[in-house]
């Protein structure tokens, strides 16, 4: 029987069912344990990054190469027909995808991956569309949580930092709500979790709590998901006063649960002090590495009828 993701687009985390997410997580786990099988042999994948990206692009391209495939594409659109000759994104997608078996796209405008999927018959994987979605980040986060906790269900997860603008926290909260996790939201008031996410959680009957400081909740959670509070969103005095509340230090980890793991989509600036790196709770570099396995799993599933 064909796997349910075969030839499917991966555009938005809200398009995926719990079962599909579990399939991706299990496949990533398998690919991490085994020497990589040539699941993309003779496959060419377009890797079209219309804006700069380091981790996402490199981990996608590594994933393709590790599974025996090849990629074509670009890491910014400065020298493409779009930028230089005014070609539409729709036409670019039509042409480039006709050379390839799958199309990975990152683009600064929201909805670009969905649009791309309407102009090609090959599967489109969204590598980030503006402030909207970044589903492969969410899937690698889910895989990392599964890997370090042994389960996805009923975990206590704290989200810290910029919860308003961070697409990763929105998507991860939506994904984890399918697994009945309990959430703790810790952010400056101006960067609180948007109401529409809270309404969705209310509708699903998901428990959550809004807290003012990391210390209030850190001893009761299994995962702390840190994000960066961006300086440019505040004036300097306000930032200095407020940012210190959202910095995680090793000192704060004295009485935490043994299974606690700290995640961060990276890059970090100063919201996790470097002394945390040496503690057994730091898991953000493993998380970054897992980007390869989660993306391998996705590509393998969309390009292989059976695995």
């Amino acid at each position: 029987m064909a796997n349910p993701l075969f030839q499917q687009n991966i555009i938005s985390i809200s398009d995926l069912t719990r079962e599909q997410m579990e399939l991706i997580v299990r496949t990533a786990e398998r690919l991490k344990c085994e020497p990589p099988p040539p699941l993309l042999k003779n496959k060419v994948v377009a890797s079209c990054f219309f804006e700069a990206s380091t981790r996402t692009r490199l981990s996608f391209e590594t994933a393709i190469l590790r599974l025996g495939g090849t990629h074509i594409g670009f890491d910014n659109d400065a020298n493409t027909s779009l930028a230089r000759k005014g070609e539409s994104l729709a036409d670019s997608v039509k042409v480039i995808s006709s050379y390839t078996d799958a199309f990975v796209i990152r683009h600064p405008r929201e909805g670009s991956a969905r649009l791309a999927s309407e102009f090609t018959s090959v599967p489109v994987i969204n590598g980030g569309d503006g402030a909207n979605q970044h589903p492969t980040q969410t899937l690698l986060d889910l895989f990392t949580i599964f890997e370090c906790q042994g389960k996805l269900d009923e975990l206590n997860i704290a989200f810290v930092g910029d919860l308003k603008y961070g697409r990763t926290v929105h998507s991860l909260a939506q994904a984890c709500s399918l697994f009945k996790c309990r959430f703790f939201f810790i952010s400056p008031e101006a960067l609180a979790m948007p109401d529409y996410i809270l309404e969705e959680l209310d509708e699903k009957g998901i428990e959550y709590q809004v807290s003012q400081s990391i210390e209030d909740v850190i001893n009761d959670v299994d995962i702390v998901y840190m994000t960066r509070v961006q300086k440019e969103r505040f004036d300097e005095t306000e930032y200095k006063h407020m940012a210190s509340k959202y910095i995680l230090t090793a000192e704060m980890l004295k009485d935490v649960r043994k299974n606690l793991k700290i995640l961060h989509p990276l890059p970090r600036v100063d919201e996790i002090t470097v002394d945390v790196d040496k503690t057994p709770y730091a898991y953000y570099f493993e998380q970054a590495q897992n980007g390869i396995y989660a993306r391998q799993a996705l590509l393998a599933l969309v390009l292989n009828e059976t695995l």
Partner: protein
């Protein structure tokens, strides 16, 4: 006779009736009804047995398209549209909130790809606490109907 409305009958065109009071002016604006040269008769705050007060719009020589009817349904879901031909009601239908809206309004998100590429806008329509919301298929943002309609 006291409750009878004395509004001139039209030979051919459309009568939008049972518009909730206050919405008539929005419909005139949204459907650009006053931009053309056709004769328009409007009535605001008219007595209605069903809804207390209602607005009413008669447009001569114009038959509403499906997409115009869809736009209309967002402002006045309880309104009725009467298509008139030779002074007789030829067709009559009641509005209901559509499940989707295609190509009617632009997405209000200036960074939405649908504004910059050759595609038509597409929204999923939902109702929450008696308010209507539209979610763009592309950028996945949800807006209240007034924001999408630019009111």
């Amino acid at each position: 006779m006291a409750n009878k409305l004395l509004v001139e009958a039209i030979r051919k065109g459309t009568v939008i009736d049972h518009i909730p009071a206050g919405q008539g002016i929005k419909i005139l604006k949204q459907l650009h009804l006053v931009d053309g040269n056709e004769k328009i008769t409007v009535g605001f705050n008219l007595p209605s047995q069903e809804i207390g007060l209602k607005d009413l719009i008669k447009v001569e020589n114009r038959i509403f398209t499906e997409s115009e009817a869809n736009e209309l349904s967002l402002f006045a879901p309880s309104a009725t549209i009467n298509v008139i031909d030779n002074y007789v009601v030829k067709d009559k239908f009641t509005m209901s909130t559509p499940k989707t809206l295609e190509g009617v309004f632009d997405c209000p998100n200036s960074n939405c790809i649908s504004l910059h590429e050759p595609v038509t806008s597409y929204f999923k329509v939902s109702k929450k606490h008696e308010s209507i919301y539209l979610k763009c298929k592309y950028c996945e943002k949800t807006f209240s109907k007034d924001i999408v309609a630019g009111l």
